[in-house]
Symmetry: C3
Subunit: 452 residues, 3 copies
């Protein structure tokens, strides 16, 4: 009888809590902002294009409904640049049927204009949008989840708006199509070229620009790319050297996440799971357009070795940090740091977290200097080493590993300093000194919010 | 009666001192070098092209006067590259009238050749040179004042010649026209392309290259720029994406300083003065070639926010340094550092100066390490953050602000070290130790001069 | 009589030892790897293309001998990319005679395929390969010695294979021709363009990419290079601006080492030896295609000054390190470090070596932190300063010298810390503490080998 009452309690609690949970999340997402923390922040007017569905408010300076050539006539004077682009596009000169006029995408009521989302583009380009959506099955990193990932990060709420601008600009790849298909020409020939990717895929978090263009592949593109026939589909033999899309978007497939084995190098994966073996075969099919399959397979095993090599200093560094924490030498420690405003749980149960292993978001901000150094090592330097190796940027791979070693050395030095300081404080003060005002207030919390 | 004598004394003193001042400055500028400190240094032969009016001495290996085709005939053998360039230029094939031969710009006496200054080019291209000169009204940063700015800086005199070479090369934009209009083709189509700007506008002091080419604007140029018709003027609708000159030199106007609101981000300005509101309208007119005016205005407000955000860590850092100075913890302090050789006043009245606020030039060299760190933070890192935001280099803006926070953290650590060291010295030595030889002698003063 | 016995002893010893030495070296080189330490390591399958003579094993998945069109027919399906490249090449469509089919270079037995070495290419392109080989007379840096240089370095053996991958990729320029002549088109027009060089010539060890493209020369190429006629030989007047090959491979000569005066800036040379004066004249002949000879000579003297300037902080730093070593403050010192596995002599006679002066290879790894900092300063930062100046990258030269000064300051600070630490250890412990485990085990020795 007792057992049955447990079952009933569980069923009743589930029946109450699951809908309550859904309700809470739904309520959370219904604020002025977007994402899980939408009630804690508001978008700026500058953000409007980047999440058109949530952030865009129509201009109301012009009244009336307009269609077809009417929009064009007026905008030839108002914004000539984009009209010329549209006129040169297939939208204006379709192979068959009527032109796709402004109103098809933006609506025709000038007080209720919209900026097109993938759903809008998907009314005609159904397959491509479906492929993009399909990325979600593979988790992050992926384009389709990019906006969610940023909006649902706790530190996003605390971040100064001036910096959020930068985040949203790239992560908007999930919420609109013109990140790659520059408006208003939308020529696939344009999106096939590597530059379409590089506005976002450059710099420390994803140095694809730097690494591709340093490779023999990239140098071939730099030399001859201007003369290639970009109207051809991304199929075997159509291009004399590979580009971003040639390898990652084979035959134009808008699903980039399904071949990802090493996940940017920031997660330690087992490259030899059966799942990853399947992906490996897909990569080999691409490489074999030009290379011996055996040799290509050896290169992929080279990437396994590169990652194995990179995780050694990372694990050593992680061990050092855990040792410091065990000896109460990481300050501000959990509980000394201001909790994220969005996170009531952190107030009740403060947790110390190191790097990716124990909580990615928490490693960006509001951590002690040595934890931040580890973050840099893990996120930027290790990722860089991976991208260099994966894109065959020869000179730079060696350099990147040298940097990981230097990071580790610096971390070891800093750890020794912390241990010495701790010993001295114990000796001279009988305990540790009060941590500095700066970190307790938090550069990214109260201080910034008041200046945002 | 007493009052009248004051007036007379003032009048007489003014009558003596004002001309004496002018006379002194004029005498100062008449040395072998150029600028206010011309009597303290001499140009190297390698500098000759960069300030042709002051530094160029004609070669005297060929005797005689030559004109027109005569120069061409001989130089086809001697320097074929530039002759081919000239032959392809409008100077060689003008729409009407006679060709502009070598002698028109260089003179015809081979022992008295000159390298053309803007004044020489201005004999035909009057309006463009007048526009350049007009920049001077707007102060620095400006092209027209670039050479003055470098020549009149105290540290210029102390700097090793090998480094001055680098300074002069870019700052010569004020003293000759071929910084942008590469000799000897001088095709406007060439100067319109962003590369004309990027020889100088790249790297830490003005990362326009890096930031423009990372933006969607720059990526469009990278993809398609080779196919655009560069013979078209820089007017609305003529180009599918903006370039340096498209935005900054609208309709080819050679006056780049008049739209400058945030001044490279190195000066804290009020962006909302009526003056700056006027400039803002001019920017909006440019953006509206392609973008909604409302959205563009929001982007400009975004830049206001970015600067506001950047000045917070900068002000904090400045406060830390002032505190250290008040407690006599900045060494070498003013008076301990070797004065610039050019500066008698510094010998009599040594002043400590922090960063831009209290004296820009003094922050480059001959300061204590922590002051130099502040300089790096203020000048390079903050400027970089601004340029990234202003040119819409999305990924990099966030990173740059992260760097400013890291700079501040490092500065705070260094300040704590200095305070601890000061306390220990007080305790153990009853005062501070003698500052190191290195800084007292000065890496950029006596030591370098003897090796120059 | 005594004298005669000395002579005989010497003769007999020489007769025994010289062949023994040759024998030892020959035995050393006959291991699974390559180079002097070939018995201490094995190549990975991923390395196979990079030293085809030593590392390449034919695929054995296809049996039979094939010739001419047979190979093409099958590979049109198997590896369409390279077949298309070959079809567009002069090999497929020679001006006269028969096509050069796959088998001419790769052999015709599919179980005994080879990847072509310079010797294979040299059967037709005799002069070019002879020119490459001729580089060896001029020592390193040179292309022809690149592979030897890396294989014969002690630290190469200890290096993780994942990093060796990166080394070999560039250094394979000595052992195969497709580093520059991208397979399988092999169009000289392609190899003439700067991108052919930049896969390797970029990044810290040889920032030619970064410095050339920042110069006025490079910006001209960026703007117009796409429109130049690259089928023309690299001769005076054929190109409107210089490229890597235009200056360094005049008239297509495949000998790049014979004009090298400053040797990458990493060796302090006397630029005024008669030998270097001859090289200077050759440079002037190149510059004079476009520039006044006097002015060009002044630029070369500017480079002398730049190097003189750079060696000042380097010498100061070297002096600091020698002082520390004399006072037993460099740890791990020689003898505390693990010897390279290849080096029995180091076990018997451990030597401390600082930077280039006392042993280049030893400065990369297994040295104390401050020695490594000096290495960075000497190798990367000074080399960078040189390349910036030599390629006329104006903005960056000044910055690079600023960095050398900062390096020196950091080194001075670190040296003071070491001295203070040493004094404290002497006072408190009566000697120095046991050096850390990390360096004694050696990140690049036992630890890495077990993970390789």
């Amino acid at each position: 009888m007792k057992r049955r009452s447990y079952i009933w309690t569980t069923v009743i609690l589930a029946a109450l809590l699951i809908p309550a949970g859904y309700g809470y999340v739904s309520w959370s997402k219904s604020g002025a902002g977007a994402g899980l923390y939408s009630r804690h922040w508001e978008p700026e007017p500058a953000f409007s294009y980047w999440h058109p569905e949530r952030f865009y408010d129509s201009v109301d300076t012009v009244v009336g409904t307009f269609e077809g050539q009417q929009c064009v006539t007026c905008h030839e004077g108002a914004t000539p640049g984009i009209v010329k682009d549209w006129q040169a596009s297939r939208h204006a000169q379709p192979a068959e049927g009527q032109p796709v006029y402004c109103s098809a995408c933006h609506g025709n009521d000038h007080e209720q204009l919209r900026m097109p989302t993938p759903a809008v583009c998907g009314t005609c380009h159904e397959q491509r949008v479906a492929e993009l959506e399909d990325e979600k099955r593979f988790g992050f990193p992926s384009h389709a989840l990019a906006m969610e990932r940023v909006l649902d990060a706790k530190h996003f709420v605390d971040k100064p708006k001036a910096e959020v601008t930068a985040c949203l600009q790239c992560h908007s790849v999930a919420t609109k199509c013109d990140s790659c298909h520059t408006r208003h020409r939308f020529d696939p020939a344009e999106a096939r070229r590597p530059e379409a990717c590089l506005t976002c895929h450059s710099g420390p978090p994803h140095p694809d620009d730097e690494t591709y263009f340093q490779s023999a592949h990239g140098q071939l593109y730099r030399r001859h790319g201007g003369d290639w026939d970009w109207s051809k589909p991304l199929a075997a033999g159509n291009y004399p050297a590979p580009t971003c899309a040639y390898c990652h978007m084979r035959n134009g497939k808008h699903q980039v996440a399904d071949k990802s084995i090493w996940k940017f190098g920031i997660v330690q994966v087992n490259p030899l799971t059966s799942n990853n073996e399947v992906k490996r075969q897909e990569w080999l099919a691409v490489c074999s357009d030009c290379h011996e399959a055996d040799w290509s397979a050896a290169q992929l095993r080279g990437l396994d070795a590169e990652r194995k090599r990179a995780w050694h200093p990372l694990h050593t560094a992680e061990g050092i940090l855990k040792g410091l924490r065990a000896d109460d030498l990481l300050h501000p420690a959990a509980g000394e740091r201001p909790p994220y405003p969005a996170d009531g749980l952190d107030r009740i149960w403060p947790r110390a977290r190191i790097g990716f292993y124990e909580g990615q978001a928490s490693a960006f901000y509001n951590v002690s200097p040595i934890e931040r150094d580890y973050f840099e090592m893990w996120y930027f330097d290790s990722l860089d080493a991976y991208k260099r190796a994966a894109h065959f940027a020869p000179e730079r791979t060696d350099e990147a590993h040298g940097r990981l070693e230097q990071d580790l050395r610096a971390l070891q030095n800093a750890a020794e300093d912390l241990r010495e300081l701790g010993a001295r404080e114990q000796r001279e003060l009988g305990g540790r000194s009060i941590p500095g005002e700066f970190w307790n207030r938090g550069a990214y919390t109260d201080l910034n919010r008041e200046r945002n």
